[in-house]
Amino acid sequence: MEKRVTFKGIWLPLLLVLPQLVVTAVFFFYPAGQAIWQSLFIPDPFGLSMKFVGLGNFEYLLSNSYYRASFVTTAVFSTLVTLVSMGVALYLAVLADRLIKGSGIYRTLLIWPYAVAPAVAGVLWLFMFNTRVGVVTWYLGLLGYDWNHVLNGNEAMGLVVVASAWGRISYNFLFFLAGLQAIPRSVIEAAAIDGARFWTRFRTIVWPLLSPTTFFLLVVNIVYAFFETFGVIHTITGGGPQQATTILVYKVYSDGFVGQDLGSSAAQSVILLFIVGLLTVVQFRFIERRVHY
């Protein structure tokens, strides 16, 4: 039974939710409203006047080959980041789950990267892969590989993917480990007695029982790859070379604040807003019926 606290008046409950409402209004509703408003206008080059264009900004964007390319870039980037970070995290979590001695230290060390801010993580990876002084670049050079993410778009993409996924592994690892440890030991033992070796057990028992965690992480990681990787991309590639790493969020920034095309930038924000909304709906609908077995 749900216990409900009933308030007599309207003022106390209003007062209690006010801080949250204020924060949401100031940091979400106001800027979101501004974005929607601005997306309907084109400002002149000096910002002195605005011309109403209706959905003109959207029409222009959707027919713009650069913008469509950015969609593809974002899809590739977020798929890779999600796969890499979840794959590695799952592998490490399975290892940690089997570990009996020293698992505390192992876990603590694995959680640390999560505490590193994206921009700082970006700079760390940038140093390692710096085309002139980077340690990894130097070793790759010894192996006969000429690493240059400043010129090579694929290498640039690889680098921002690795840097973005790296910090994310900790977060995914924690959830996967918790998910694994929530599976009753006796179920695994029963499967072992039934003749399932490690890989069969993982495929037929562990993975299906882990699927609620996996789905949750999938959505969260896609959202992360879409929106929270700005710092990494900004510090490492700045969206280049030749827009090879310009994901949608980065394009909002570069078109709006570098290119000074505020109308287009606002329209892009609105499109992103819809994407987030869509992802959130998917996530919530799933969480509601999360216990699927």
């Binding site: 033992e189 029963a190 007695i193 039934d194 399932a196 070796r197």
Partner: protein, 328 residues
């Protein structure tokens, strides 16, 4: 079908020895119950037979073959867990078929064997359901079905009934016994419930703190408990312990005399000792009379409900026959 032999089995968890050498030879088709209080090592012993715990020293043989180094799946055993350990994302059918599928049996054979087990356990209407849609007793049956379909040589039960309510427990106890008889399979059954042990076992192992205090047929253990622990653990209410000196028993060097509640009689004639009746418990078929002896010890007398009920607070004399007493 197979024999099981344990040969000086020991188990050490990080320098602490928890099983101190257990020996038993189990005949083919025998029902062995391992009984003891929680923490006595009975589950650990069973898990060593299953291969879920390593054996620190000693040898486990199933069907005459040393299995210490074998994986659980290669020991030809099946196990029923306390929490059933059903696969929650699979239907009842898939739960029972899982082992056969992995073994690569044909679909027809799997269907046939599962149907056979389902019929035996009256699970036929539930084959398509998920475990969470079943009651405790039904889940218990599925767990047994999963064990049966694989036709193992040895059944291992780890407190399979302790999550069921009292009535269902009695019913399932009987079913397990019948099933084991019908299949003629060797069974090792762990429980902390001495009634389960008494009713199910061909022979029982009474464990105390990592040792087998006594191994024997239930009635033999009941009549001749080898240690005071066994005397106190098997039987409800437990055996009474009296100071041997107080009741003038020079017959033995032992300090304690043990006597079962049903062997004590309240007498108006010549009494061997006596005390004050503290309270009586009428249970219907029988009555328990709790008597406080002069030295403060409490004894329980179990008498027929037709016998005269002494008044609480009254002094009574107690007697028993020499053949029923045990010394420790």
């Amino acid at each position: 079908m197979a024999t099981v032999s344990l040969d000086n089995i020991r188990k050490t968890f990080s320098k602490t020895e928890v099983i101190h050498g257990i020996d038993i030879d189990i005949a083919d088709g025998e029902f062995i119950v391992i009984v003891g209080p929680s923490g006595c090592g009975k589950s650990t012993l069973l898990r060593m037979v299953a291969g879920l715990e390593t054996v620190t020293s000693g040898e486990v043989r199933i069907g005459g073959q040393r299995v210490n180094e074998r994986e659980p799946m290669d020991r030809d055993i099946a196990m029923v867990f306390q929490n059933y350990a059903l696969y929650p994302h699979m239907s009842v059918f898939d739960n029972m078929a899982y082992g056969l599928k992995i073994a690569g049996r044909s679909k027809a054979e799997i269907a046939e064997r599962v149907a056979e087990a389902a019929k035996l356990l009256q699970l036929e209407p539930y084959l398509k359901r998920r475990p969470r849609e079943l009651s405790g007793g039904q889940r218990q049956r599925v767990a047994m079905g999963r064990a049966i379909v694989r036709k193992p040589s040895v059944f291992l039960f780890d407190e399979p009934l302790s999550n069921l309510d009292a009535k269902l427990r009695v019913q399932m106890r009987l079913e397990i016994k019948q099933l084991q008889r019908r299949l003629g399979v060797t069974a090792l059954y762990v429980t902390h419930d001495q009634v389960e042990a008494m009713t199910l076992a061909d022979r029982m192992i009474v464990m105390n703190d990592g040792r087998a205090d006594q191994i024997g047929a239930p009635l033999e253990v009941y009549a001749n408990p080898r240690t005071r622990f066994v005397a106190g653990f098997i039987g409800s209410p437990p055996m009474n312990f009296l100071d041997a000196g107080l009741v003038n028993e020079p017959a033995s060097e032992a300090a304690t005399l043990g006597i079962r509640p049903e062997h004590l009689q309240i007498t108006t004639g010549e009494a061997r000792t006596g005390g004050i009746v503290l309270y009586t418990e009428a249970l219907g078929a029988e009555t328990l009379v709790h008597v406080k002896l002069p030295d403060g010890a409490m004894v329980t007398v179990r008498q027929d409900s037709t016998a005269a009920l002494p008044e609480e607070g009254s002094a009574v004399g107690l007697t028993w026959s020499d053949s029923d007493q045990v010394f420790f």
